[in-house]
């Protein structure tokens, strides 16, 4: 499973740390980015299987970053993961492949990633 690469994008260091640990425990190789710009830069250099993207971030927000990434690689799978549940109603978020509300219980996030990967293979 080490060949599955995941990019966690979040401006909060502790969240990045938590998600990295939790997802690594699942056997994925996890990289992190602190904002939209960094995420785009990394996504251009490395091919990730899944990007977990926070929405509200300083500089470039997650939805802008999502649109940019999809623009140069529309196959890129992106999960929006935010404390903001209401972004589900914004149709600009509809192009993401999934939407998970951020929670201390990471099982929903893990399950979503699993579903995406198994759908792909």
């Amino acid at each position: 499973m080490n060949d599955v690469k995941i990019l966690v994008v979040d401006d909060e260091e502790n969240i990045r740390f938590l998600f990295k640990e939790e997802l690594e425990e699942e056997g994925y190789s996890v990289e992190i980015a602190a904002n939209g710009h960094e995420a785009i830069k990394k996504a251009k250099m490395t091919k990730y299987d899944v990007i977990v993207m926070d929405i509200k971030m300083p500089g470039m927000d997650g939805i802008q970053a999502l649109n940019e990434i999809k623009n140069f690689n529309k196959e890129q799978m992106v999960i929006l993961c935010s404390a903001y549940g209401e972004f589900k109603q914004d149709f600009t978020s509809w192009i993401s492949d999934a939407y998970v509300v951020k929670s201390a219980d990471t099982s929903e996030l893990k399950q979503t990633i699993k579903n995406m990967l198994s759908a792909r293979y």
Binding site: N14, G85, F91, A104
Partner: protein
């Protein structure tokens, strides 16, 4: 008899403080006593040009017979004296059989008892007030001097009658003015309409001594709806007469009266006289006033007066009433404005509070995720005994409880999703097209509109639907690359599933879509444009699907593309959407 003393007595009485009828009766008694006439009777001339037997000396016998009938001017001896304004004297030989009207058979029986008769007109300088009738059983001749004396006395009685008339009419006028002043007071006070109508009704009813009075206001101009106030009791039997009369008054824009002259004693309407008058302002009828009075039996003086008075009152209250109605309307508008303002302020407050709460909730959520997340990791990593893992469980449970509280709070305060509203799609299209009017990219584009003007409204998120229209119309224009015709048509259709749809079709003359691309056009990020993200049609499709509709494409290569947007016809009732 001393004529000077006689005249002195009469003048003394006529100038006394006695009530007018008492004065006349006293004068008649003096004449009877001093000149030895058994009958001294006064017929008065009424407004309807008829004569009524009204005053008499104490011992009169004929009065009770004569006063049963009224006679016309010119009719019989009394009528002809009144008409010619000349006295006539007779003795028992030459007196005509007809005193007044035709039905004096009872008088005829009495005639033989009297020896002389005198009929003297009661004149003022120009006006005839009635006729003085004198009969004597004992006397045989009337001297010229006595005739002169009687003519002087008749002048005096005429004068008293004139005073009576003036007194009555000034009393009437004073009470009328008092009523008008009372009405004025009520009209300038700031009363509610219903109270105002009640007060007006009571004042007029009292002034006219009416059995009942109904004031009706019905004018859409003031948006008050029909209002009615009735003072007194309307007998059910005459209610339809009242309604008829009101209608006639409104239609004819003038006072109408109903005096029933039928002789059917069972018909209650005989005993009542109705007058209805319209309240007119600037040639518009605001309502009606209708009064009912007892049909007068005896006093013919004022029979036609009430109609005139009520008309007067109506025109007097018009302006005041109109002001009150305007005032009421103004108050309503102000009240509405105030409550609208309050609502807006409340909404603003709530919105601010919501934004603040949402921000705080978000700020709390991230640290919570971290606390809960790492507590779980701790539990996994450490080899904890039962009690320690219970502690961690408590932390994680409490965190998840807090998370769910935050979700509830956010759900509650977040902006409500845009409510679907009823919209006419033709208007929606026109508003979108208006956006392009100043755009130079549209200079060579002709837009043809073919709207069905009887479209039912569709229930939708108007902003989203506009977004779809903008996307498709801009695509059409870009496909024509510098000029052509866009045809926009609206119509309704019923699909096989029995549901009704409004269809908007947008056709361009841009040569159509490459058949190779047809299957991809609704996919995200598919674009044939150099500068395009490829989301327009994907998003449009998703919006229309969310509305329970669909987008279809008819493509003729070499000619153009035609998009059909189907929107289901729904209705909103009490805020809920029905299909």
């Amino acid at each position: 008899m001393n004529p000077v003393e006689f005249l002195g007595n009469i003048i003394e009485v006529s100038h006394s403080n006695l009530e007018i009828p008492a004065r006349i009766n006293a004068i008649l008694n003096i004449i009877s006593h001093k000149m030895d006439f058994n009958e001294v009777i006064v017929f008065t001339s009424d407004k309807d040009k008829r004569l009524t037997c009204k005053y008499k000396n104490q011992k009169s016998i004929l009065f009770n017979i004569l006063n049963k009938y009224r006679c016309h001017i010119g009719e019989g001896v009394i009528g002809s004296v009144a008409q010619k304004r000349m006295p006539q004297y007779f003795n028992d030989k030459d007196v005509p059989l007809r005193f007044g009207c035709l039905f004096y058979s009872e008088v005829d029986n009495q005639m033989a008892k009297y020896k002389i008769f005198a009929f003297i007109p009661l004149l003022d300088d120009s006006y005839m007030y009635g006729v003085l009738v004198l009969c004597s059983r004992n006397r045989h001749v009337l001297t010229d001097a006595e005739k002169i004396l009687l003519s002087i006395v008749s002048r005096e009685i005429g004068g008293v009658l004139r005073t009576n008339d003036l007194l009555l009419s000034s009393k009437k006028r004073i009470s009328e003015l008092a009523t008008l002043s009372e009405l004025g007071k009520v009209l300038t006070s700031n009363l509610e309409l219903q109270v105002l109508l009640k007060d007006i009704a009571i004042i007029i009813a009292r002034a006219l001594n009416a059995l009942f009075i109904t004031i009706k206001i019905d004018n859409t101009l003031f948006a008050v709806g029909p209002r009615k106030y009735t003072y007194g009791d309307v007998y059910p039997q005459i209610e339809h007469y009242v309604n008829d009369l009101e209608q006639k008054a409104v239609e004819g824009k003038k006072t109408v009266s109903l005096v029933n002259h039928l002789h059917d004693e069972n018909d209650i309407s005989i005993k009542h006289t109705l007058h209805s008058t319209p309240i007119i302002s600037k040639n518009k009828v605001l309502g009606t006033i209708t009064i009912c009075e007892r049909t007068p039996q005896r006093d013919y003086m004022f029979e036609q007066n009430e109609g005139y008075l009520i008309n007067n009152f109506a025109s007097y209250i018009t302006n005041g009433l109109e002001n009150t109605l305007l005032n009421i309307k103004l108050k309503d508008v102000v009240r509405e404005l105030n409550s609208a303002q309050k609502r807006i302020i409340e909404q603003e407050k709530f919105k601010c509070l919501g934004e603040m709460t949402a921000n705080i909730a978000h700020e709390i959520r991230n640290p919570l995720v971290v606390i809960g997340g790492f507590a779980k990791r701790l539990a996994k990593k450490l080899n904890m005994d039962q009690i320690e893992s219970k502690y961690v469980d408590i932390i994680t449970n409490e965190v998840s409880r807090l998370e769910s509280i935050l979700s509830d709070v956010l759900n509650y305060v977040k902006d409500a999703p845009v409510p679907f509203e009823s919209c006419y799609i033709n208007d929606c299209i026109d508003e979108v097209l208006y956006l392009f009017t100043t755009d130079t990219a549209w200079n060579n584009t002709q837009i043809l509109k073919d709207y069905d003007n009887n479209l039912p409204p569709v229930v939708c998120d108007i902003q989203q639907i506009k977004q779809v229209l903008i996307n498709i119309i801009i695509n059409a224009n870009e496909a024509m690359d510098g000029g052509g015709t866009i045809t926009i048509k609206t119509e309704t259709t019923e699909e096989a599933n029995g549901r009704q749809y409004v269809i908007v079709s947008i056709a361009d003359s841009g040569g159509g879509i490459d058949p190779f691309d047809i299957n991809n056009i609704f996919n995200p990020f598919f674009t044939t444009k150099e500068r395009g993200v490829g989301l327009g049609l994907a998003i449009s499709n998703k919006i229309i699907l969310n509305h329970g509709g669909k987008i279809e494409l008819e493509n003729v290569v070499g000619k153009g593309a035609k998009f059909f947007i189907y929107l289901p016809v729904k209705t909103i009732k009490n805020g809920e959407v029905f299909i």
